[in-house]
Symmetry: C2
């Protein structure tokens, strides 16, 4: 399942709850568009901001709406015991894979992160994608640590951060089992990383505009730079939240406070400019 386009939809929510109808429609739309996998409850899906029960319910809804397209869900949490609980819930709800970032409050050490992945992979019956996201976790994976974790049972993929991914891929490829796919996030690095041999693009834009992302995976020339510029300024989730509301996919507000979407006017101008 770790190939081509893995689309990361938003979880539309406000202070009163989750808009399950809008969420389900976003997921169904990705399946119809023909993405290779769907990853609700990624960073863009605000997994870190949701309760265990909400995450379990959204996984069930997503698996149903995905209509056979493999679903991968984020199971990250600050405590190992909560990660294990989320992993059990995800599998019970029919997820085809789980995504795990070493979420932190206290900055984590290499030994702690290795311990986390050791504990969690031992309990899995579906593949796990190692989520290397130094921006949100403040943890930097060395290639040595990736190579060590990739030997654990049930590790199926590594989601690399965009900056430096293209340069890092060839060396890492030789150090992980052939069964471990290497993918990239950070949308504006995708074209370069795919050209450098990435197996899969874990995509924020693909969660809302799957056709555009699929075109990039097919190596069609598509200039989304005006959007990437906003991603770099505001963060992908804030731009996609504004875009989702602008294009009628969700109501407003659609992010958990204190998060605030990117300025609507700027996002509208960029969307118009790139034809989305």
């Amino acid at each position: 399942m770790f190939t081509g386009l893995s689309a990361f939809p938003l979880t539309p929510l406000d202070e009163d709850g989750i808009d399950e109808g809008a969420f389900t429609r976003l997921v169904a739309r990705l399946a119809t568009a023909g993405v290779d996998s769907i990853a609700p409850l990624g960073s863009t899906g605000s997994y870190a901001y949701l309760q265990r029960k909400e995450r379990a319910r959204l996984t069930r809804l997503a698996v149903e709406a995905a209509a056979g397209v493999p679903v991968m869900v984020g199971i990250g949490a600050l405590r190992t015991k909560d990660v294990l609980a989320n992993a059990a819930d995800a599998q019970a709800a029919g997820a085809s894979a789980v995504l795990l970032a070493p979420v932190s409050y206290q900055l984590l050490t290499d030994d702690e992160v290795l311990g986390l992945y050791t504990d969690v992979t031992a309990e899995l019956s579906v593949p796990l994608c190692v989520y290397d996201n130094p921006t949100t976790t403040r943890f930097t994976f060395s290639d040595d640590l990736h190579a060590e974790i990739a030997q654990l049972p049930n590790v199926g993929a590594i989601k690399l951060p965009g900056p430096g991914a293209a340069e890092r891929l060839p060396g890492l490829r030789g150090r992980v089992p052939e069964t471990v796919a290497l993918g990239v996030s950070g949308d504006w690095f995708a074209a370069e990383a795919l050209a450098a041999g990435a197996d899969v693009w874990f995509s924020v834009i693909g969660g809302l505009f799957p056709e555009a992302a699929l075109a990039i995976v097919r190596r069609e020339a598509l200039d989304l730079e005006p959007l990437w510029a906003l991603f770099r300024t505001y963060g992908g989730i804030r731009v996609i939240a504004a875009a989702a509301a602008l294009r009628g996919f969700t109501g407003e507000p659609n992010l958990p406070r204190p998060l605030i979407p990117a300025p609507s006017a700027e996002v509208a101008a960029a969307l118009d400019q790139v034809g989305l």
Copy 2:
């Protein structure tokens, strides 16, 4: 209450639950030692790793064990709605103040952090201490933002990070209301910051060895550098967790996995060297 020594005890816990007896004894010991305030559920108290109900219960236990010494508890969470719930619980449980860091998964903007403090301070009837901790929150407060937040109702103190605190204090003092105390964390910066006029030291070591911390507040010469070296290497919570077990204050393990205490032998040697 924001004066002298504010002691931050550990919350001893393992994967099966919280050792409430050990927690209560740690708090009671601080009250007996004569600290100025007690801050369970700070970073050292693992507030970020605990559920809402656990935090509310620990607050009640701490207020009782503190026997009249003011108790401040951390109310931080990723979502504003959860911070508000923690704030209500803390007040209902008898906390004299609340401590709020802008905890993040998505990196927060200045506008989002200002919005968080605006929303939360509007609902309080006890003072709030702004918890400026860039290591765990990945958010850097400018002096401008501190000055703006300090104008909000119920802001009683700012807990500054150790690095640069002594240099920052004089400028910040002129920009916040007189009712807002300025304090420092990062134990090895405490002596310097107190000499530079900090009102209060928010202390990790003071949560386990209050007499030593009180001596530092009295400006008695006390060389704890061997411990501070370990704090810098492993992080204060990992050193204090090892020290608490070594000195019989808690069982083992006493931290939430994936966190791992500092190596016991190194901590034992440092404790022996400084006579604690």
